[in-house]
């Protein structure tokens, strides 16, 4: 029997190695797999390369992972935020490397890795600092920049519902990087708010088919103080 359900985040991340490249889903408040990031911190491995849209907010999540000194490099599109103080400090001290990637190029590099594409040309970034040193070509009348795929050892993503085959659905804008990161990593760990029986998910609405997911971990949903639903 195929059963990808793992009871706790700690068990799901027990084999993450020192020096691993880890993709972490999420954009703003939506889709951040907080419980999985906490388990990664607990796991204690360092020298990590983190691929995320941002570089941590406040003292929790990726911010806490950075504060604990576990991160060697961040690949992201938007590190600087009002509450990215842990990244800001480490970056200014030269203790963390930054690879800054335009957000759409970040998404497409992740998608390319999952889809087995060896690279692609994109007009995004042509003529800017972020294209320096990269191969360019005039294609379809536009100058384009060659970009390479981004692979990962592990992806940590947050979904809404999952079954034991690893099929996933998401909730609203919490989907963001989840489906493409699931495809790009060797091992994908998805937290879900509800584990359902095999066959209970409408096959027409499955967003990530189970073959892209290796582990499914149930976590409780949290509510915000204002009564709204927390991501």
């Amino acid at each position: 029997m195929i059963d990808k359900i793992v009871p706790t985040p700690a068990l799901a991340l027990a084999d993450v190695q020192e020096g691993a490249t880890v993709m972490i889903g999420g954009f703003g408040t939506a889709g951040i797999p907080n419980e999985l990031i906490d388990a990664l911190i607990e796991r204690g491995v360092g020298e990590l390369t983190i691929i995320n849209n941002n570089a941590g907010n406040g003292d929790h999540g990726i911010g806490a992972l950075l504060a604990a000194g576990r991160v060697r490099k961040v690949v992201c599109s938007f590190p600087r935020q009002v509450d990215s103080w842990h990244f800001d400090r480490l970056y200014r001290e030269g203790r963390v490397e930054l690879e800054l990637v335009p957000q759409g190029t970040l998404a497409e590099r992740i998608r390319a890795a999952g889809a087995g594409i060896g690279g692609f040309f994109t007009p995004t970034g042509y003529g800017t600092e972020l294209a320096q040193g990269k191969e360019t070509r005039l294609l379809d009348g536009r100058w384009q920049v060659f970009e390479t795929p981004l692979h990962a050892d592990v992806a940590l993503i947050k979904a809404e519902r999952g079954d034991r085959w690893g099929n996933l659905t998401y909730r609203m804008t919490a989907r963001n990087f989840g489906p493409i990161m699931a495809m790009a990593a060797r091992v994908t760990v998805a937290s879900v708010h509800e584990v359902v029986e095999l066959g209970a998910l409408d096959p027409e609405t499955v967003v990530t088919p189970g073959l892209f997911v290796q582990r499914v971990v149930p976590v409780a949903r949290q509510r915000t103080q204002s009564g709204g639903i927390k991501a």
């Binding site: 590190p79 200014r92 998404a107 989907r175 990087f177 991501a231």
Partner: protein, 228 residues
């Protein structure tokens, strides 16, 4: 909460009241050019005001980079759902017909030319339509680009909405950008608090300007030649 105006701001507003559009005036002016049925992406900051000025009957599909199209205004206090946010990370609502998608599809919408208009803020725009809006290039600044390059390059039309000059009075419309570029020749129209300018092969053409503002006065605060 009481909203107060800083004294300096109040003075500045009075001094320029006759020859300067307010932020809402600017947003209203941009909204006027957004046609029924357009797919629109509004950048963070000033451009987000445009949504408040679209006439009620005009159907426009609002796209946000984080995977939503057809979103509506902010929810009532207490109704926030932090799974439903815009690119500025503020809670929004979904209109009937709205849809969700992942990040690669979201940026395929931009790069693939499926977004009719994006409205972005800017540090500088050149006479050739080059855009600088992501990084000041200051040695201690931490660069952050987000979706700015993808949008500027990918949308069918890239409109900039910004103050005409910096707080110090320096032109933001320049011969060539001194800040790091976001994209080359990507801007097609510029909306400022003084004028609306089209980027044409010969340079910049003034298509609208504040009442009472002469071409000479507008040219004096612009760093590149203007055409009437």
């Amino acid at each position: 909460m009481t909203i107060t105006t800083q004294p300096s701001e109040a003075v500045a507003t009075r001094a320029h009241a006759s020859v300067r559009w307010s932020r809402d005036d600017m947003a209203r002016r941009v909204a006027r050019d957004i046609a029924e049925g357009m797919v629109v992406n509004l950048g963070i900051g000033l451009p987000t005001l445009v949504a408040n000025h679209l006439p009620p009957g005009r159907e426009v599909m609002m796209q946000s980079e984080n995977g939503v199209i057809g979103f509506g205004p902010a929810p009532a206090p207490g109704e926030e759902d932090y799974d439903l946010i815009n690119a500025g990370k503020q809670p929004v609502t979904l209109r009937p017909g709205g849809a969700f998608f992942h990040h690669a599809d979201s940026f395929a919408m931009m790069r693939g030319g499926h977004i009719d208009v994006c409205v972005l803020g800017a540090f500088q725009v050149s006479g050739a339509g080059d855009l600088a809006n992501w990084h000041t290039g200051a040695p201690d600044a931490i660069p952050a680009v987000g979706g700015a390059m993808d949008l500027a390059t990918g949308a069918r039309r890239t409109w900039v909405m910004m103050e005409h000059t910096t707080k110090a009075g320096e032109p933001k419309i320049v011969e060539s950008c001194t800040y790091p570029l976001t994209g080359l020749a990507c801007v097609s129209r510029i909306y400022t608090d003084l004028a609306v300018l089209d980027v044409i092969p010969e340079g910049l053409r003034v298509i609208d300007r504040c009442e009472g503002l002469t071409m000479a006065a507008l040219q004096a605060v612009t760093g590149t030649a203007l055409r009437d």
